[in-house]
């Protein structure tokens, strides 16, 4: 079966390692010798709860998550967390500062792409509190309207003692990502934040989770990620939550906070070890297999190295395409994502030719997000260096053919 598979550069749901899928196919009929398939087994069975505990262990050890932080599993994807982070952290802020007015209770949003913009909009819908856009990267874009950069550190305007500070580490649609090196101008400006307090720092890591270590992980209040990029099928959301953010949401509601659906309360998830109600068993199972596979290959260090190489190679191929006036990068220097490389193909109908040519060579999923167009190459963990080289070979061939046509 594996031999008939094509290369899938889609942005998510996205490629998973074939060896993992083969093992999962067996587990569908018989999970770990129980005689019962993984989708059929009780989520309270000792076999499955052991599997969940192991998934937590794999994440904790590989990402080096300190004991101050809980690892929780839920459903609903990043979009559900747009609401859940607001509700849980406003409840926390309400308990810490019960007497502030709604206008004094501020949520800071760093807007660097389509997803952080959506999150800020949901905060306005849900909050009943003030949303402060700490920075909007469109102001610093080449065309004045695109998400094509990470703004200079000098431009962030954080509030004093906000209920939350929100950013999206990697913007899947726009291909913009913070540098993970503090020294870089395009890093997240941790140094501007008040380290004296327990920071209410929230990060959407959906499309870069487990592609490399997370800088300043222990300074975060909440890190969340949908599984459907680097680690598994859609339907599983992974949360890393600092313990002081797991609060008695009902007590906060009595002080005037918006009531939180029980399945969105971090306290519910924590108290039940992520088994308050039936979890998405099958995505959890496959995520566990993927992370075991990742550990066998050498863990995050291996992936950091490989993912850097893959991204550098593709950016270099695009740069060469720019020299020939065939391709054009969409993102400014230093802000290019490792996971989602976006570019335009210049000339009438050229993007369509690019996509169709790739499909003829069994490479799919290269079309950019419908809101921005262009080409998007997603290089999640399951895409190997050899896969990347095949794509680069195609890009080079395409650039040559197009430049011959136009010259």
């Amino acid at each position: 079966m594996a031999s008939s598979r094509v290369l899938n550069f889609g942005a998510g749901p996205s490629a998973l390692p074939a060896s993992v899928l083969e093992k999962a196919a067996e587990g569908l009929l018989n999970f770990n010798g129980t005689g019962i398939g993984i989708a059929e087994i009780s989520h309270r069975s000792k076999e499955f709860t052991a599997f969940v505990a192991n998934l937590e262990f794999l994440i904790r050890t590989q990402l080096d998550v300190p004991p101050t932080h809980a690892i929780l599993f839920t459903q609903g994807g990043g979009s559900a967390q747009f609401s859940a982070t607001v509700l849980n952290l406003l409840a926390r802020h309400r308990l810490l500062h019960p007497h502030l007015s709604d206008d004094e209770r501020v949520m800071d949003y760093v807007v660097t792409g389509s997803w952080s913009e959506k999150a800020a909009e949901e905060a306005k819908r849900m909050g009943g509190s003030r949303v402060n856009v700490a920075v909007d990267s469109r102001k610093y874009s080449k065309d004045g309207k695109s998400f094509d950069n990470i703004p200079p550190h000098t431009e962030y305007a954080f509030s004093p003692d906000p209920a939350l500070i929100y950013y999206c580490e990697n913007e899947t649609v726009d291909g913009v990502e913070f540098s993970h090196k503090d020294a870089d101008a395009t890093s997240f400006p941790y140094h501007l934040l008040d380290k004296g307090a327990l920071l209410p720092l929230v990060a959407d890591y959906s499309s870069s989770f487990m592609c490399r270590p997370i800088p300043h992980l222990s300074d975060h209040a909440v890190i969340f990620a949908g599984a459907q990029k680097n680690i598994g099928p859609a339907g599983l959301t992974i949360l890393i939550v600092r313990q002081d953010c797991i609060v008695d949401v009902d007590a906060a509601a009595q002080l005037g906070a918006t009531p939180i659906p029980l399945t969105m309360s971090y306290k519910t998830l924590f108290d039940s070890k992520s088994l308050y109600n039936t979890p998405s068993v099958l995505p959890i199972y496959i995520a566990g297999l993927v992370l075991e596979h990742l550990a066998e290959l050498g863990g995050l260090k291996y992936y950091e190295q490989t993912n850097r190489k893959k991204a550098e190679k593709v950016y270099e191929a695009v740069r060469k395409g720019e020299e020939k006036a065939v391709l054009q990068r969409k993102v400014q220097d230093g802000a290019g994502s490792w996971m989602n490389v976006v570019f335009s193909v210049l000339g009438d109908g050229a993007e369509q030719r690019f996509i169709e040519g790739a499909e003829k060579e069994d490479m799919k999923g290269l079309k950019g997000h419908r809101s921005v167009g262009g080409i998007r190459v997603s290089l999640y963990n399951a895409i190997t260096e050899a896969d990347t080289d095949k794509l680069i070979g195609y890009i080079e061939k395409f650039v040559l053919a197009e430049s011959n046509t136009t010259s």
Copy 2:
């Protein structure tokens, strides 16, 4: 692989047809000839959106869902719907009657088991409105405290013009279910409801969805079901929502309703054809395969007949066990669930002997819910009549052995 499988009488996640799982195992590596596995394919691809449309079609035709009702797919299980039904229907009520006080805005709950009790508790947490327990079946129980019956029709106290009327069709934990014949004393008392208005009638069908037709379906405002009983893996929730209950939740919030997380808003799901954000692709896929399998076997008529026979046989075996003073039914006449048959095994350590003996014959999942103990036999669609006969053979043998010991 299939031959090593055991019989799984678990209450959910629960048995799925082996032939479906074998097909799903292939789809994991290559979905419908795309060369991409089902867990890896874009949820916006034409292949997947066609699959979702077909899943809707299968449900609509088999359950005879009228065009007045939308069929929606989401995540979070029944527990998330405990909150979502309250938020959406209170928003609807707010738009219909903007000037009522919270105390005048009433939600009626019919409490006949552990799950409807939980739902009523969540309504109290979320609502900011009055919860009226229209009836609590424990008052009519043999011991004054158990959920062992469906109350007489005379005992329901519904409110005038409530924001919602809630019931749970089949109580998985307690094995109590409404009769689907209006003439029976244990049916849901539809005849007491005001048919003049568009009824805000909400039903939790999680553990009986697709086991037989749904009586008075078109009178319902919302029917919801987690997939992990009769139709697929956990992680998919199916909603049938009457169009007048798909309301502008933001407009309601401006009138004072509690804001609704966007992923819980029925309007969001409806407007996006259930693809507002990445859905749980894999559970949707398997549910589609299960429903195709169900249609091939003869659809709901076939299952209604088979499920009736399975349940009658097991209840009869339990009744014979009662005659020998070995077994004891937990549920009063007429209220016994087709899907979850619960009983006690009398005598010291006898329940443990029952479970261990069954496991020796490769039958698992028979332990009752931890909150009530005893034995629970779940007879979801994937359990065949032959499977049921095997279990009944075991029950008869067990009863004989125990009655010989005690006599």
